[in-house]
């Protein structure tokens, strides 16, 4: 009856047309692989990832080779940072999504890395799963899997960050090594 009403959501670019991104193949083991860290600008993000990297090195034998920080929380990492990560690293940990924009963009970073053939583990605080999932939908990857840590992260002490990072490490390792279908592809 109301077909003549204009749909105000129809714009020039529709995410629905995006092809489903292909996720990277997983290695059987992390031992000896080069690890990259991609932090955003949120408080404690760099320390969280550094602690995760150190524990992954100690427990699983990865070699941390590159710790980067992207310049803003809204956008995906710029091309030059993405190139560094894909050139120099075998696996990447991304985080910590602890705000409205940055949780969504961390998921977008993870998907871009996967498309470039780099297994990625994205860490989001559990207050922002809805916006992380919405970004996965926008990128054509509904059901994209990431890891959560309890919100908030920004107010943790150095010891609190370390404890939280240590707690996350087994799941990070699993996400980087379990076969794609189980680890990162929707059911």
């Amino acid at each position: 009856m109301f077909e003549s009403i204009i749909d105000p959501t129809i714009g020039p670019a529709s995410a629905a047309s995006q092809p489903r991104p292909t996720l990277a193949d997983r290695p059987e083991s992390l031992s000896g692989l080069r690890l990259g860290l991609l932090a955003n600008t949120k408080r404690n993000a760099e320390q969280f990832l550094a602690d995760v990297g150190a524990e992954l090195a100690r427990q699983y034998g990865v070699v941390p080779v590159l710790a980067t920080k992207k310049p803003n929380i809204v956008d995906t990492a710029p091309t030059e940072i993405m190139a560094q990560l894909t050139d120099q690293c075998d696996v990447v940990v991304v985080g910590v999504g602890d705000c409205g924009s940055c949780s969504a963009s961390a998921v977008a970073d993870g998907i871009l890395l996967e498309q470039a053939g780099i297994p990625a583990a994205v860490i989001i605080s559990d207050a922002f799963t809805v916006s992380a999932d919405a970004m996965a939908d926008l990128r054509g990857a509904p059901g994209y899997r990431y890891l959560t840590t309890a919100h908030p992260v920004a107010n943790l002490t150095a010891e609190g960050v370390q404890a939280r990072a240590t707690q996350a490490v087994p799941a990070v390792a699993a996400m980087l090594t379990e076969p794609v279908l189980a680890a990162a592809q929707p059911a």
């Binding site: 009856m1 109301f2 003549s4 009403i5 204009i6 749909d7 105000p8 959501t9 129809i10 714009g11 020039p12 670019a13 995410a15 995006q18 408080r43 803003n72 929380i73 809204v74 956008d75 995906t76 705000c99 409205g100 924009s101 949780s103 969504a104 963009s105 977008a108 922002f128 809805v130 916006s131 919405a134 970004m135 926008l138 990128r139």
Partner: protein, 344 residues
């Protein structure tokens, strides 16, 4: 179509209600009823602007979303605008988009709102209120121009509350803050002239804000006493979110503006005075758990004198003003946008 299947074409009121309900069911609404937009409504908007229907006027590359002039028109009509408001909507949208903080603002936990300020004769022509009750409600142009921007974010960018939008609390009046500047009672040049557009030209400025708070001071004829009151509110710690400084601006009621003007203060003088006096002892900041980046003593809470926007609006019936709090650290980009009309 599930809206009121019993709606009968021989009862136009029932039909109108069913059309409104249909818009709700599509998920287009911000919660309030929408005016259904048809092709002829969009065409009526397009007839007011030199911009072509397909022109892209905003993008969120990280969301793979863009918005066109025609889409803006549909949302403006749905917000309740008359077609002749549309050039102001487009200028407001451009003013909002050029704010550096607007890229991530719509998803932010801060949940900021555009403070839209209109200058020029368009205020009288479209009935944009700049006098009593300037912050609203009660005036169609003010209410619907601001609402258009919210619907464009929702429907154009697909940013919806509790989904991609993650506002922790939001703020009262989000998507409804559009006021004219009371140029007639201001002692200074229009805000748009500060923003680079000649006085007397229709222009829109926009600042993303997180809240407003009143300052009621009717007890003194001393400019410095009133400025002291402003500086106290501007210098408080709550709005400080870490980093180099807090942020703040003023919508002065005409009585305060005229007291300052008559006392010899230019807009720049007011800004300088407030910058110098809105300060804190770093020990206060440390006591509140906010001392991490605070070194200077005293610590200037505002970024710089010229980053304290000063606007004049409201009625000259009581000496009160509003402090507003810009989102992020960028304050105001400082560029106003001329309104473009088709016949110019």
């Amino acid at each position: 179509m599930t809206a009121s299947p019993e709606a009968s074409t021989d009862d136009p009121v029932a039909l109108a209600k069913a059309a409104i309900e249909y818009c709700y069911e599509q998920g287009w609404s911000d919660g309030l009823p929408m005016v259904p937009a048809t092709r002829s409504d969009v065409d009526a908007c397009l007839a007011t602007t030199p911009h072509p229907a397909a022109e892209i006027i905003g993008s969120q590359p990280h969301l793979s979303r863009s918005i066109t002039v025609a889409q803006a028109a549909a949302n403006a009509i749905m917000a309740g605008c008359k077609p002749e408001y549309f050039p102001v909507v487009l200028a407001a949208w451009q003013a909002v988009c050029q704010e550096r903080s607007s890229r991530g603002a719509w998803q932010s936990t801060s949940g900021p709102a555009p403070l839209i300020v209109v200058n020029g004769p368009v205020r009288q022509r479209l009935g944009i209120n700049y006098a009593g009750g300037a912050f609203g409600p009660g005036f169609r142009a003010n209410a619907t121009i601001a609402r258009s921007i919210g619907l464009m974010v929702r429907n154009g960018y697909g940013v919806r509350p509790q989904q991609l939008e993650q506002a922790t609390q939001g703020l009262p009046g989000r998507w409804s803050i559009c006021l004219g500047e009371n140029e007639e009672m201001s002692p200074w040049e229009p805000l748009s002239a500060v923003g680079g557009v000649a006085a007397g030209t229709d222009a829109v400025s926009a600042i993303l804000i997180r809240t407003v708070e009143y300052i009621d001071n009717r007890s003194t004829d001393s400019a410095e006493a009133v400025l002291t009151d402003f500086a106290d509110t501007l210098g408080r710690m709550g709005a400080y979110v870490g980093g180099p400084h807090s942020s703040g601006g003023l919508v002065l009621g005409p009585e305060h503006a005229q007291l300052l003007g008559n006392s010899g203060y230019s807009r720049a003088d007011v800004q300088q005075w407030l910058f110098e006096h809105a300060v804190r002892d770093p020990a206060d900041m440390t006591a509140a758990g906010k001392g991490e980046h605070v070194a200077d003593r005293p610590f200037a809470m505002l970024p710089s004198a010229d980053a304290i926007p000063i606007i004049v609006a409201g009625a000259a019936n009581a000496a009160m003003s509003m402090v507003f709090r810009p989102f992020g650290w960028a304050a105001w980009a400082g560029r106003s946008v001329p309104v473009e009309w088709k016949d110019q």
